[in-house]
C-alpha cells in the first residue's frame, strides 16, 4: 500500500515536471522535489517495515533493491536541484525522475515477487548489505551522468554542452569511488567470507567489472579529450547501459552465483 502511494507520488512528480518543461522562462518548478521526497520516504519506509518483519536489513531481494535504487535516485535528484555550484537543468532533473519512475514501475509490476522473506544463509551478511547499498548509491550517480550525457549528445548549444559535460563528469567522479567500494571491494570481501573465493568470474561479477572498466575508460578519455568532444558522453551512456545489464540482464539471462539478487 505504502509502496503504491510512493509510486503514485513519483508519477505526480514526473507530471509536474512535464508541465514545467512546457512553461517558458527560467522559473524553477517547486512541487516535484517535495513529491519525490515523499515518494523516497515511502519507499525507504517500506524497506524499514520489511526489515522489522524479516529481522534483517531488507536489501536482499530484487524488489527491495529496486525500491532502494529508485529512492536514492530521487534523493540525489533533489540534492542536485538544491545545490548551487553546478547548473542543473530541468531536463536532467526530469530524466532522473523518469529513471526513478521506471524502477518504481518495475518494482510495482505484478510479475515481480514482493513477499517479504527472510534471507537464506549466504545472504545473511552485513558485508552483503554494504556491497549492495553502495553499488546502488554509485549507480544512482551514474543515472545522473547518463541523463546529462544524453542531453550533451542531443544539444547543439555550446554553452549547454559545457554544463552537461560538467554534470556528467562530476556525477561519475563521485559515483565511481562509491561504486568501486560497493561493487568491487565489499563484493570481494563478502564473496571471500561466504564462498571462500574473493573473485569467481561469475557473470554478475564479470559485468560489474566491465561496468567499472567502462567508467575507468570514461575518466581516462575525459582526461585527454577536449570538453566539447562527444566521446566521453558516449562512454558514459555505454557505462549506464552496462549497469542496467548487470542488474537486470544478468539476473534473467546469465545464471550464476548471484541468481537470487
Amino acid at each position: 500500500m505504502i509502496a503504491t502511494i510512493g509510486f503514485i507520488l513519483v508519477i505526480a512528480a514526473a507530471a509536474a515536471q512535464v508541465v514545467s518543461l512546457f512553461r517558458k522562462g527560467d522559473k524553477k518548478e517547486s512541487l516535484s522535489p517535495w513529491l519525490m521526497a515523499a515518494a523516497a520516504a515511502a519507499f525507504l519506509g517500506v524497506m524499514l517495515s520489511r526489515s522489522v518483519k524479516i529481522g534483517f536489513i531488507a536489501l536482499t531481494s530484487t524488489y527491495e533493491s529496486l525500491l532502494f535504487y529508485s529512492a536514492f535516485i530521487m534523493i540525489l535528484d533533489i540534492v542536485y536541484r538544491f545545490q548551487k555550484k553546478i547548473h542543473y537543468s530541468r531536463i536532467i532533473g526530469f530524466g532522473a525522475t523518469i529513471a526513478a519512475l521506471v524502477l518504481a514501475a518495475i518494482a510495482s509490476s505484478p510479475l515481480l515477487p514482493k513477499e517479504a522473506l527472510p534471507p537464506i544463509p549466504a545472504l545473511r551478511s552485513l558485508w552483503l548489505v554494504i556491497h549492495v547499498a553502495l553499488s546502488f548509491v554509485g549507480e544512482a550517480f551514474f543515472v545522473i551522468s547518463f541523463v546529462a550525457s544524453l542531453a550533451f549528445l542531443f544539444t547543439k548549444d555550446e554553452k549547454k554542452k559545457i554544463d552537461f559535460d560538467r554534470i556528467t563528469y562530476t556525477a561519475v567522479a563521485v559515483g565511481y569511488p562509491i561504486f568501486t567500494a560497493g561493487a568491487l571491494i565489499f563484493g570481494a570481501i563478502w564473496a571471500e567470507q561466504a564462498w571462500g573465493r574473493w573473485w569467481s568470474w561469475d557473470p554478475k561479477e564479470t559485468w560489474a567489472f566491465i561496468t567499472w572498466l567502462v567508467y575507468t575508460l570514461y575518466l581516462h578519455v575525459r582526461l585527454i579529450m577536449k570538453k566539447k568532444n562527444a566521446a566521453p558522453s558516449w562512454i558514459a551512456v555505454v557505462g549506464f547501459l552496462c549497469t542496467v545489464f548487470t542488474f537486470f540482464g544478468v539476473n534473467y539471462l546469465l545464471p550464476g552465483l548471484h541468481s537470487y539478487g
Binding site: P177, W201, T206, I224
Partner: protein, 321 residues
C-alpha cells in the same frame, strides 16, 4: 628508448587495453565457460565451436586472450604510476597522490590475483557428529554437532557446524561455530560451511532407552541378537524417493534379510527403525593471495576517495579564486 618508455606509459595504450579487456570479458559472459570441448560442438555450429575451443574463449580468464592484455595493462599501469609518482614528488606543492595510491592498489590487486590463481588450494570433507578430520597443519577438527535451522516456511535459515580444534591432544579451541558467512580461520587455512547432506541410518533402541545408530556397513550385537546394516533401497511402490534399510538379522525371532523403514520393527527386545543422520560439508581453503588482495582493496578504496577529495578541494579553490 625514450620513445618506447613514452609509449609504454601512455594513457592511449591504457585506453586501448581497457577496451580490449572489457570487450573480451563481455564475450566471455556470452559463451559458457569451462565446459568440456564436446559441449561446444553441441551448442554451436562446427566452425564456431572450433573457434571457441582453439582460441580459448571457453576458458577466457585463464587464456592468453585475457592474460596477455592483462599483463600489458599491468606493465602500462606500472610505468604510468612510476612516471606520475616521480612527477608528483618533484612538485614543491599541490602534490596529488590519490591516483598514485589507486594505481599501486590496482598493481597489488593483479599481483594478489596471480598469487591466488597459482597458489590457492581447497579441499572438501563430510563429517557426521563425532567424526574428526586431520588438517594439513597437524590440527584435528572434531565435529560436535551440525544443525540445519529452518524458517517456518521450510526455507534454510542457517547451517552451523559446532567444532573443537585439537593439536597433539591439547584442546586449542572449544565449541567454535562455523557458519555460512562466518568461517573459521586457522593460520593460513580457512574452514567454510559449504554444504550438508542427510544419510539414512538405523537406530537400535534398547529397553533402557539407550540408542545405537548404525551407518551402512556397521553392526550391532547384544543378548544373542545381531543386526547388520547391509544397504539401502527405494521403497517399492513409493514415488517420493523414500528409502528403507536392508538388514541381516540373526536372533530375536528373526533370521535373514529384513527390510525396515521409519515405522520400525521389533527384534527381540530392541526397537529398530531408520533415521536421518546429517553430515556437514566443510571446505578448507588456503589462499596465499588473499592478504595481498585485502591490502590492495584498501589501497584502491583510499586511492579513489583521496582522488575525489583532492579534486573536489581543487575545484572549490578554483571557484573561490
Amino acid at each position: 628508448m625514450r620513445e618506447f618508455w613514452k609509449k609504454l606509459k601512455s594513457i592511449k595504450l591504457a585506453i586501448a587495453l581497457i577496451v580490449i579487456l572489457a570487450t573480451g570479458s563481455l564475450l566471455a559472459t556470452l559463451i559458457p565457460q569451462g565446459k568440456a570441448s564436446e559441449e561446444y560442438f553441441k551448442l554451436y555450429p562446427k566452425f564456431v565451436a572450433e573457434l571457441v575451443v582453439q582460441t580459448g574463449l571457453n576458458r577466457f580468464f585463464s587464456s592468453i586472450l585475457f592474460l596477455v592484455p592483462a599483463l600489458l595493462f599491468f606493465i602500462n599501469l606500472g610505468a604510468c604510476a612510476l612516471d606520475r609518482l616521480v612527477r608528483e614528488l618533484r612538485k614543491k606543492n599541490k602534490r596529488r597522490h590519490g591516483p598514485d595510491v589507486l594505481h599501486v592498489g590496482l598493481l597489488l590487486l593483479i599481483v594478489g590475483g596471480i598469487v591466488s590463481f597459482s597458489g590457492r588450494q581447497e579441499g572438501m570433507v563430510r563429517l557426521a557428529a563425532g567424526e574428526s578430520v586431520a588438517l594439513p597443519n597437524g590440527e584435528i577438527l572434531h565435529l560436535i554437532k551440525f544443525s540445519d535451522e529452518r524458517y517456518e516456511d521450510g526455507r534454510p535459515k542457517d547451517w552451523t557446524s559446532l567444532v573443537n580444534l585439537e593439536k597433539d591432544g591439547t584442546l586449542l579451541k572449544e565449541n567454535v561455530e562455523i557458519r555460512v558467512n562466518k568461517p573459521l580461520r586457522i593460520g593460513a587455512i580457512t574452514i567454510y560451511q559449504n554444504s550438508y547432506s542427510a544419510a539414512l541410518a538405523v537406530a537400535v533402541s534398547a529397553p533402557d532407552d539407550s540408542v545405537t545408530t548404525l551407518a551402512r556397513g556397521e553392526s550391532f550385537e547384544a543378548e544373542g541378537v545381531r543386526i547388520f546394516f547391509m544397504t539401502t533401497e527405494k521403497k517399492p511402490g513409493v514415488e517420493t524417493g523414500e528409502a528403507q534399510a536392508v538388514l541381516r538379522v540373526q536372533g530375536g525371532g528373526l533370521d535373514g534379510a529384513v527390510r525396515v523403514d521409519s515405522q520400525g520393527i521389533l527384534v527381540g527386545r530392541y526397537a529398530v527403525a531408520t533415521t536421518q543422520v546429517l553430515s556437514t560439508g566443510l571446505q578448507a581453503v588456503s589462499d596465499p593471495g588473499y592478504p595481498f588482495v585485502l591490502v590492495s582493496l584498501i589501497l584502491i578504496g583510499l586511492g579513489t576517495a583521496l582522488t575525489f577529495a583532492q579534486k573536489l578541494n581543487d575545484t572549490l579553490k578554483e571557484e573561490k579564486a
